[in-house]
Amino acid sequence: ELTEKLEGFFSGLKGRGKLTEDNVRESLRDVRRILLEADVNFAVARDFLKRVEEKAVGVDVLKSVTPAQQVIKILHDELTELLGGNFRPLKRSKETPTVIMMVGLQGSGKTTTTGKLGHYLRSHGMRPMLAACDMQRPAAIDQLERIGEQSSLTVHAKRGVSALEAALAAKEAARLGGQDTLIVDTAGRLHVDEELMNELRDLRDQLHPSEILFVADGMTGQDAVNSAKAFTEQLDITGVVMTKLDGDARGGAALSVREVSGAPIRFAGIGEKIEEFEEFHPDRMANRILG
């Protein structure tokens, strides 16, 4: 456990004195391994630890804690701050409906999360409509329609047309039907697939979403920076949803995605059911990453 590991380095210091450059650096070397094993990206871990080192060196060791606990506290606080940023509600647009696009790699949980977000917004007084705009995956439209049926959420689906046509038709239907929020489910795609990334840009340009949420699998490893960076650069995502956090993945990808995209992590998927969805808690994630 982290505290025990760091205690070893600080056995010389006893409740008074300052954290020196040497003992901080030594102890952070062990932390680096912990972060890498937690799937934090290599470069992100290096930069993060440099910042922690700067903050920790020269700090007075409080009488009530051990030096190791002091470093851990700095680590934990720095990590929480990085992951956090106050939870702010989803941005609404002046025109109705407000459009939210769900994007991300294959299998990350977009369709499931589209349902969850609809359920969540409804419980907060909104009138959501879900738009089935994955025209590529076998039975994707069926999947979202069923999710909608099971939770009595309105789903708009139009088969045999392009994703853009389906999305625009849904937006018009929401406008006419009085739904104030349109959540658009899109097909999973690789960030290196130029054609499909262009399709998302077209969707964004025509739909004017007030939010583009990047849905990221909680067990993603080092590659999280690559996909997050590409989606940020090409689409300018406004938020992230980390899914499958009900598993035991340490979730280092959360730090990587947050660092590289600058977008806040808004929500966490914590199960397959429609209600297994919550606002993201940066301090809990920090604990999880630090093990």
């Binding site: 290599f42 995956r137 076998p138 039975a139 690789l190 290196v192 490893g221 590659d223 009900d246």
Partner: protein
């Protein structure tokens, strides 16, 4: 004998970065660097050769631990029906991979039956039914929300009565930390054995190529509950290197059989070490 080349801090960090960012994990990366160091002591290696030597060590490690020792052609008489379970955590590409494999066997002239035993996830049966159609093979499905074990049972009795050569069973995604869902896999195993004593002959664990070190804990859990014959690593057509397959091979002795390289029916290739080595070192 020249002095052994020493790795300076900067070079060391560069090498670590190559290995770690490939998802090889800290322990495997350290082991590879250690093997590199050994060779630096024993051979006269120049600075330019360091990368080549490290690449050789990765290739050797994969050959020893991950590549399959015998090809399917070496097996004696294939059991009939030969039963494969496709398992893994949510969203990794099980259903898609099963469709690709079904197509492969069908194109090779074998009779294939797909068993749609994911009775839980929304539209899972519809999805795998489309793959059965694309591959031109039959499918056995159950009533919505039916017990997956009963679908496996029906599927295997159909396979026996139709004298099918291969049965491919699609199962629901399940996080390995969910004990009740993992126990369900054990139940599928027991039910299968009622009709086909040696079933499942093959359990394929499908791991998403973008998965980090959690892949190792997934493999451990599935190996414990249902035994894992081989891995399929999917989505390596992206930028992920899939390196976690190396620690899985080293620690659990589980080889990789297939690599998924896309969403199309033909986007499946037999595993070869060079696929990973080239991805890691470019």
């Amino acid at each position: 004998v020249g002095a052994a080349l020493k790795l300076d801090e900067e070079t060391l960090e560069k090498l670590e970065e190559i290995l770690i960012t490939a998802d090889l994990g800290v322990e495997t990366s350290m082991e590879l660097i250690e093997r590199l160091r050994k060779r630096l002591r024993l051979e006269s290696v120049t600075a330019e050769d360091v990368l080549r030597v490290l690449r050789e060590e990765l290739d050797r490690m994969i050959e020893e631990t991950v590549a399959e020792k015998e090809t399917e052609g070496d097996e004696e008489e294939q059991p009939r029906p030969h039963v494969t379970f496709v398992v893994g955590v949510n969203g990794t590409g099980k259903t898609t991979t099963l469709g690709k494999i079904a197509n492969r066997y069908a194109k090779q002239g074998e009779s294939v039956l797909i068993v749609a035993a994911d009775t839980f996830r929304t539209a899972a049966v519809e999805q795998v039914a489309i793959w059965a159609e694309r591959a031109g093979v039959d499918i056995v499905r159950g009533a919505t929300g039916a017990d997956p074990a009963s679908v496996v049972y029906d599927g295997l009795s159909a396979a026996l009565s139709r004298n099918v050569q291969r049965v491919l069973v699609d199962t629901a995604g399940r996080l390995h930390t969910k004990t009740n869902l993992m126990a369900e896999l054990g139940k599928l195993d027991r039910v299968a054995k009622k009709l086909v004593p040696e079933a499942p002959h093959e359990v394929l664990l499908v791991v998403d190529g973008t998965t980090g070190q959690n892949g190792l804990s997934q493999a451990k859990a599935f190996a414990e509950v249902s035994g894992v014959t081989a891995l399929v690593v999917t989505k390596l057509d992206g930028t992920a290197k899939g390196g976690v397959l190396v620690p899985i091979g080293r620690e659990l002795g589980i080889p990789v059989r297939w690599i998924g390289l896309g969403e199309g029916i033909d986007d499946l290739v037999p595993f070869e070490p060079r696929l990973v080595v080239e991805a890691v070192f470019g």
